[in-house]
């Protein structure tokens, strides 16, 4: 059971979190549009592979989040 005080925190934190994800998506959309300015193959690569051009921080961050998400599902 979440206390009243903590629930207020959740009502703030969860929408803020989703807004941040929305900002990240907008940034990703702009990035993808720039990448897919070329032909059809470039569009596919931009959408499905992120233009094959992720930096080290992005690669490590996505790997970290994916692994721990998997751990949570499996329960280790």
């Amino acid at each position: 059971m979440v206390s009243e005080e903590n629930r207020t925190g959740l009502y703030v934190a969860v929408p803020v979190y989703f807004c941040m994800l929305g900002v990240a998506t907008y940034w990703a959309y702009i990035r993808m549009e720039k990448m897919s300015a070329g032909g059809v193959s470039d569009k596919l690569a931009a959408h499905y592979l992120g233009g094959r051009d992720f930096g080290p921080l992005l690669t490590a961050g996505t790997l970290f989040a994916s692994l721990f998400s998997g751990y949570t599902v499996v329960g280790v």
Binding site: A28, T59, G61, S66
Partner: protein, 239 residues
């Protein structure tokens, strides 16, 4: 064409990937809590996977750039020229993915309904969240997935770092534990206890019986059962 600059970038990416893998085997909290030293098995397991990645990942990336592969399935088709193999691999990839995604949807439903005290079977919040995820991925593709993942990773790392401070602030540290409720154990339940038992009793004729009794009484955590069995066999052989 793989240039020296892209090689250097790949090297930096792999360094951070290796660092994440290093952290990954270090932290498998649930198993470490429940099974103690048994969770050390993640070290060779994950290092084998990382070694496998270094053996295949770099070459696969090089091949994918040169041959314009969009997915691992493209590589399989290109390499083996078999449509049957292609669709077999697709099915083998899809089947576990569907189970994994279904588990995540149910987990989100459980977590969200629980923290907002909704009916556990309520489905509209999870449908809204799934809709948002679909829109995010449709708009941004893998860029969106990676960026939102990065944001999640930052939140997770910050939580790991902040959590001990919050616990100490709200509940106190080790010194605030009530010694009557949480008595300090005589010996921590680690491998050293087995070493102590064996060192004291190895010459005793009843060692195996004593060790079995000890295991049955569950004084030692189940994580040490392999060591106990090995020591039992050794004791029988040398007795």
């Amino acid at each position: 064409m793989i240039t020296s600059k892209s090689r250097q970038k790949l090297g930096r990416q792999n360094s951070l990937t290796l660092l994440v893998s290093f952290l990954q085997w270090h932290i498998s909290p649930n198993e470490a809590y429940q099974r103690g030293f048994y969770s050390l098995r993640w070290i060779p397991a994950v290092n084998s996977i990382v070694a496998g990645y270094f053996g295949t990942g770099l070459r696969l990336r090089k091949a994918s750039i040169l041959r314009n592969h969009q997915s691992p399935v493209d590589f399989i088709t290109d390499r083996y020229q078999s449509q049957i193999l292609r669709y077999t691999v697709v099915v083998l990839q899809l089947f576990p993915s569907i189970i994994y995604l279904a588990a995540q949807v149910i987990a989100i439903q459980g977590t969200f309904n629980s923290i907002f005290e909704l009916d556990p079977d309520e489905s509209y919040p999870v449908i809204i969240i799934m809709g948002m995820i679909l829109i995010f991925e449709w708009l941004g593709g893998l860029n969106s997935v990676a960026l939102t993942d990065l944001f999640q990773a930052i939140v997770m790392v910050a939580s790991f770092v902040i959590l001990p401070s919050v616990v100490v602030k709200n509940f106190g540290g080790w010194t605030d534990l009530d010694p009557d409720t949480f008595p300090r154990p005589e010996t921590y339940q680690t491998m050293s206890k087995v070493s102590l038992v064996s060192a004291n009793n190895i010459t005793d004729n009843n060692f195996v019986e004593q060790l079995t009794e000890l295991c049955l009484s569950r004084l030692l955590p189940p994580s040490l059962s392999l060591i106990e069995i090995t020591m039992g066999i050794l004791a029988i052989l040398f007795s």
